[in-house]
């Protein structure tokens, strides 16, 4: 495990993004109960870890995060960047009254998947992510659709269980 190979664009970009997303997290009106806020922050952190250490490493190793294939400090810090995205996904899902049986549900997930692709594109430009072994950015659309649909349905399941108690 290393800190970084060179402290340059990618590290600065991660730090700037951290300040932006966590400022938004702390300044936004609280719409979710505290335990759900913690839950979905951990959810985002874990899902990003799972994908990075499964398709982004090991035998598959489809992409390099930051300067090297080694585990760097900023690889770990980056997972904290994904946590608020998961929270805001659920936050706006609740605020916009998205319902799983309405067409808006599909539009909401497609919209967030496109936002995910856009942020990933910026990440590649900032040298945070480098694809290898024939991986292309459009494969990430599959990941975003799976993760965001699961997140939305999981939120619905938790709500349903709360109602039934």
């Amino acid at each position: 495990m290393i800190l970084w190979e060179q402290f340059d664009t990618n590290e600065i970009y991660i730090l700037v993004m951290l300040v932006i997303v966590y400022s938004a997290l702390f300044l936004s009106p609280k719409k979710l109960p505290r335990y759900l806020t913690i839950f979905f922050l951990v959810w985002g952190f874990t899902i990003s870890s799972l994908f990075d250490f499964t398709i982004g490493g090991g035998l598959m190793d489809f992409y390099k995060v930051n300067d090297s294939n080694q585990y760097e400090l900023f690889d770990f810090i980056m997972f904290f960047l994904f946590a608020p995205f998961s929270y805001f996904f659920v936050y706006f899902y609740k605020r916009l009254n998205i319902h799983p049986r309405r067409f808006a549900f599909i539009l909401y997930i497609i919209g967030w998947s496109l936002l995910g692709l856009a942020t990933e594109r910026i990440s590649t430009l900032m040298k945070v992510t480098d694809y290898q072994k024939g991986y292309h950015i459009y494969y990430s659309m599959v990941v975003f659709l799976i993760v965001q649909t699961t997140t939305a349905l999981y939120y619905e399941l938790i709500k349903k269980q709360e109602r039934n108690q």
Binding site: R34, I38, F39, L50, F53, Y71, L157, Q165
Partner: protein, 157 residues
């Protein structure tokens, strides 16, 4: 063969978790699972990929078995442990439960090396035992921490 055994164990643990009476709500169960996954994935990566104390098979099926152990078998077993922990109130029963879980986790390690899914180059089962004990404590305390932040505890069966 290793892949089939590990897939069967994953399926068995998931099924057991689905059918047992649970003290924890869906959110609590998932939270424990996520926390264990974070610790286990990071620990596994550092020990295997960074420090090279353990090597894994380059065969696709064996590697999938390694991933199943890391991301499904161990976290789900610990979710079952935390649920059973709430039914057992006496200290002795809880110690027995931890020891049984420890033994099962060590069996996973033994099976993993037996089927050549992993090879211990500078690692041994004692290190595994210490790590698994730590992981069990993390599971129990992460649940307690989450409950403290919950407004209500939901029971599901």
């Amino acid at each position: 063969m290793g892949f089939v055994i590990f897939f069967f164990i994953s399926w068995l643990i998931a099924t057991i978790l689905a059918v047992i009476q649970k003290k924890l709500s869906l959110a609590e169960n998932t939270f424990v699972f996520l926390i264990i996954l974070i610790f286990n994935i990071n620990f596994s990566w550092i020990v295997v990929e960074e420090l090279k104390l353990i090597t894994y098979s380059k065969d696709g099926f064996d590697y999938t078995a390694f991933l199943l152990n890391r991301s499904v078998m161990i976290p789900l077993l610990l979710v079952i442990l935390v649920n059973l922990f709430q039914f057992r109130k006496s200290t002795m029963n809880r110690i027995i439960l931890i020891l049984v879980t420890e033994a099962i986790l060590l069996c996973f390690s033994i099976l993993s090396t037996y089927f050549k899914i992993t090879e211990y180059t500078s690692w041994n089962y004692l290190y595994d035992a210490i790590y698994y004990l730590f992981l069990q404590l993390i599971a129990v305390f992460s649940y307690k921490l989450f409950v403290r932040n919950s407004q209500n505890v939901v029971s599901e069966s």
